[in-house]
């Protein structure tokens, strides 16, 4: 009863102060104020803990600031206040040491319980390994053998280029949409392993209630149990280089039956892709595929027209390596990386690399205009 009343008052205070901040479209602002409750037992527990602590510190703040304001108003020289000369009081000092300790203990108990709960990663029914790359995510469904990359969706990617002329407001789910979603079953305890291939990333979907670093050479284990079907969006949370802001995460939670159908589809797609790498491709096929591969994997640094960024990322237009009739140096560079250029050998298959190379060597006035076959790349691995 008291607690409810207290919560109402707190809520009224926060709404009231917000109205001061802005009289404009209040609804727009109100949607972007607080932590999400989320859709997992963990996220709900975390949300409850967050609100509890928020109320406690707000209450402390109201009391402390009121006392200060009262003192500032009454104990001022202009009101004729005469300074007393006391300078210590043992009882007061003990009081304001002991009361905070009690409050802290009260806060620590549920926090400890929540932490213990969150660290129970055992008994998972399935495992997904998440690998961070600059700047995309790779998902391996360890039990099903499914594996794919997930990058920023094409429409967001075009709109986010500097001076693209595209208004982000017109792009659906701007910067929060990907080409391939992570599909997960609901009501299933899922172990999620995070790791990285190059630098440290951090996999964060707020609706799941946690984030966890993805660290090259190490594997962190986490778990989730999604209770409601839906699409949940998140982002990389650890600065990971130039396009850190452009590697979103989209989780699609579906009923178990639907998940089983999706798994079969994915397996079929993977088989088809594997077959493509071994045959001879036509130039048109390579150019068409290469354009897509380039846009997803290369354009972030080397830019859409291969012009690069001066002082940071070399231009591919007129590049000596790209225009070298002997393609081997270029293949090695793409496979193994160099400085900021990541190694693509585990990211792209032979067909992808040969297509991207064919695209680069035939575009923007580059002069070689030859065809690189998947077999050429395979030979260099």
């Amino acid at each position: 009863m008291f607690v409810n009343k207290f919560k109402q008052i707190m809520f009224a205070i926060s709404v009231f102060s917000l109205m001061f901040i802005s009289e404009m479209a209040l609804a727009d602002y109100m949607n972007v104020l607080n932590l999400t409750k989320g859709v997992t037992p963990t996220s709900k527990m975390v949300y409850g803990l967050h609100m509890q602590i928020l109320y406690i510190v707000t209450a402390i703040g109201v009391v402390v600031f009121s006392v200060m304001c009262w003192s500032i108003y009454h104990h001022r020289k202009s009101k004729g206040a005469v300074a007393e000369q006391f300078h210590h009081s043992t009882s007061a000092e003990i009081t304001w040491t002991v009361i905070p300790i009690i409050i802290l203990v009260v806060m620590a108990i549920p926090a400890t319980k929540a932490l213990v709960f969150m660290e129970q990663t055992g008994d998972a029914e399935m495992t997904v390994k998440v690998t961070g790359y600059q700047w995309k995510w790779k998902y391996d469904y360890l039990d099903e053998g499914i594996s794919f990359f997930s990058s920023l969706s094409q429409d967001s990617n075009e709109a986010r280029q500097r001076n693209s002329g595209i208004d982000p407001e017109t792009v659906e789910n701007y910067l929060m949409d990907v080409d391939n979603r992570v599909v997960l079953p609901i009501n299933t305890k899922i172990r999620i392993l995070t790791t990285a291939a190059d630098v440290i990333h951090d996999w964060w979907v707020p609706a799941l209630g946690w984030k966890r670093d993805a660290i090259p050479g190490f594997i962190n284990d986490n778990w989730t149990y999604i209770e409601e079907p839906g699409v949940y969006r998140g982002k990389c949370a650890e600065l990971c280089g130039r396009d850190h802001g452009f590697m979103p995460i989209v989780v699609e939670a579906v009923p178990k039956a639907e998940y089983a159908v999706w798994v079969e589809e994915q397996k079929a797609i993977q088989l088809a892709a594997a077959a493509g790498a071994d045959r001879e491709w036509t130039k048109d096929e390579l150019l068409e595929k290469g354009k897509d591969v380039y846009a997803t994997n290369c354009a972030a640094c080397h830019m859409a027209e291969g012009q690069g960024v001066e002082g940071l990322f070399p231009a591919l237009v007129g590049s000596a390596i790209v225009n070298n009739p002997d393609a081997s140096e270029m293949i090695m560079l793409i496979l193994n990386g160099k400085n900021m250029m990541p190694a693509f050998k585990d990211i792209l298959n032979d067909a992808d690399i040969s297509a991207a190379m064919t695209h680069e060597r035939n575009s923007w006035g580059n002069t070689v205009k030859d065809v690189i076959q998947p077999s050429d790349v395979k030979a260099m691995r």
């Binding site: 901040i21 602002y29 972007v32 104020l33 607080n34 999400t36 975390v46 803990l49 602590i53 928020l54 510190v57 402390i60 402390v64 006392v67 200060m68 500032i72 104990h75 001022r76 020289k77 300074a83 300078h87 210590h88 009081s89 007061a92 000092e93 040491t97 905070p100 802290l104 926090a111 932490l115 969150m118 660290e119 709109a159 986010r160 280029q161 500097r162 001076n163 982000p168 910067l175 929060m176 630098v199 440290i200 951090d202 964060w204 984030k211 966890r212 660290i215 090259p216 050479g217 962190n220 982002k235 949370a237 600065l239 280089g241 130039r242 850190h244 802001g245 960024v309 940071l312 900021m340």
Partner: protein
């Protein structure tokens, strides 16, 4: 005015020309140089934050490449922390500690000169990276590997700049410790030291303990990049997370290195304008010391999400929460000092009260993110950005600015323009809250930090935040104007300057003679801090 001071005036000839500054061994001149340098760096770092806020003013990329944006974020932090905040603190210490304890100068005047003159060189190294292949550091001021190792030609410049800054800080700290331990006037016992001096002794010990750790960490980065070691590379048996442990073992005490001098300043200001002795002097000293001690046991709360064992997470959560106790003691002591005082609200007092309110807000959010399970949501979002900017801007910078207004009449001999000072306070306070308060909201709602562009639901708040940012930036030009105006003239300040001021520095003339306390004053309970 004491006889000693008159005696000093007689010999008060200053060196002239550029040599006065280049070869200075005078604590007042070196203090001035530190403060001017800090002010310049404050505007350099501030200009970078204006670029950040301009880019974030609306969604989409308008002005800068994301890589350059990352450089802005990174170098803004390095410049503000090592170039503005720390030198400002050392500048105040240089100016005030000798005249607060009745010493003629710092104990090691030539080293004092050197520790200042390293700074311009260090920052030339750091800022020159903007013109190099690969650009300026862009991996965050925390320099986490492997990302930081991707930096181009600027990388060794970053490492050596950090080394130089560390050397400068350590020398400054040694000087302060040597001065306070050896050069106190007769009767100036430790428990009679003004609190500003106390906070600086503790800060100096923190510096000596923490800076070598940072130097070691960045040296390991250097050998990882150029000499084939693998301290932070899992492929060679190393661990990238180890760098984070090393960095934050420095980084958390660093937070207190920044904040304690500011606490010291407001512990001088509040009693002065309350016309009442500082409440709980002894407990203030012990609270400061325990905050400093505890600061070495909480570093991992900056990195809860790296995946630590449960026992480690629990330890660092409890340790972090426990810091709230001594911090609370300090806030309550300041409140009790004001209680039943006879307060007036000149600009220094306004800034000090601003610190009390707004540092507390930063403290509350700090307590929230000390709770590990909830920090898994807060970590690396704008909620964190809101938290540490509340601590640093209205917490530390307001304290330093308060100190500048407080001591400016003593330094220059002229009163500053009180009306402009108050205007500066109110403009800063309003804009700083418009700037940082909404960051709590967007952080909780899911906006990560260190991103140059964001999804459109965050557009409205970012708009407001940027306006607050521009307003805050512009307001600081007022400070420069007030200082220049005060240096050039104004109503003459008395020796005591403020009605409620106590302590040795207020017994000197305003401005104090170039060489002061060449004959040590006698300190008794009556002439000490209270």
């Amino acid at each position: 005015m004491s006889e000693a001071v008159l005696h000093d005036d007689h010999h008060d000839h200053k060196p002239t020309g550029i040599g006065r500054w280049l070869f200075s061994t005078n604590h007042k001149d070196i203090g001035t140089m530190y403060l001017v340098f800090a002010l310049i760096m404050f505007f350099v770092g501030g200009a970078m934050s204006m670029v950040i806020r301009a880019e974030l003013f609306q969604p989409g990329l308008q002005y800068v490449d994301p890589q350059f944006y990352n450089s802005m974020v990174t170098v803004h932090a390095l410049v503000m922390i090592f170039g503005a905040l720390m030198p400002a603190g050392v500048g105040l210490a240089n100016w005030m500690i000798p005249i607060m304890i009745g010493a003629p100068d710092m104990a090691l005047p030539r080293m004092n000169n050197m520790s200042f003159w390293i700074l311009p060189f260090a920052f030339t190294l750091l800022l020159s990276t903007f013109f190099m292949q690969g650009g300026a550091p862009a991996g965050g001021w925390t320099m986490y590997p492997p990302l930081v190792l991707q930096l181009g030609d600027g990388f060794p410049y970053l490492v050596f700049a950090v080394h130089f800054l560390g050397i400068s800080s350590i020398m400054g700290a040694i000087n302060i410790i040597a001065t306070v331990f050896n050069m106190r006037a007769p009767g100036m016992t430790f428990m009679r030291l003004p609190l500003f001096v106390w906070t600086w002794i503790i800060t100096a010990f923190l510096l000596i303990a923490a800076m070598p750790v940072l130097a070691g960490g960045v040296t390991m980065l250097l050998t990882d990049k150029y000499f084939g070691t693998a301290f932070f590379d899992a492929a060679g048996g190393g661990d990238p997370v180890m760098f984070q442990h090393i960095f934050w073992f420095f980084g958390h005490p660093e937070v207190y290195i920044l904040v304690l001098p500011s606490f010291g300043v407001i512990s001088q200001i509040i009693p002065t304008f309350s016309r009442k002795p500082l409440f709980g002097y002894t407990s203030m000293v012990y609270a400061t010391a325990s905050i400093a001690f505890l600061s070495f046991f909480v570093w991992a709360h900056h990195m809860f999400t790296v995946g630590m064992p449960l026992a480690g997470e629990l330890f660092f959560m409890y340790a972090t929460m426990s810091i709230a106790v001594p911090t609370g003691v300090k806030i309550f002591n300041w409140m009790a000092t004001m209680w039943r005082g006879s307060m007036t609200f000149e600009t220094p007092m306004l800034f000090a009260i601003g610190v009390l309110f707004m540092f507390s807000i930063g403290g509350f959010s700090g307590l929230m993110m000390g709770i590990t399970p909830v920090d898994f949501q807060y970590h690396d979002t704008y909620f964190i950005v809101a938290h540490f900017h509340y601590v640093i801007v209205p917490g530390i910078i307001f304290g330093i600015i308060g100190g500048i207004y407080f001591w400016l009449p003593k330094w220059t001999g002229n009163m500053y323009d009180e009306k402009l000072g108050k205007l500066h306070f109110w403009l800063s306070t309003i804009s700083v809250n418009v700037l940082f308060f909404p960051m709590h909201f967007i952080g909780l709602a899911g906006m990560p930090r260190r991103i140059p562009d964001y999804s459109v639901q965050f557009a409205d708040w970012n708009n407001i935040i940027s306006i607050g940012g521009f307003a805050f930036g512009l307001s600081q030009l007022l400070l420069v104007w007030v200082v220049i105006k005060c240096v050039r003239g104004g109503e003459k300040a008395t020796d005591q300057v403020w009605e409620g001021a106590h302590g040795l520095e207020w017994t000197l003339s305003s401005p104090p003679p170039f060489h002061s306390f060449t004959t040590p004053p006698k300190v008794t309970d009556a002439t000490a801090h209270s």
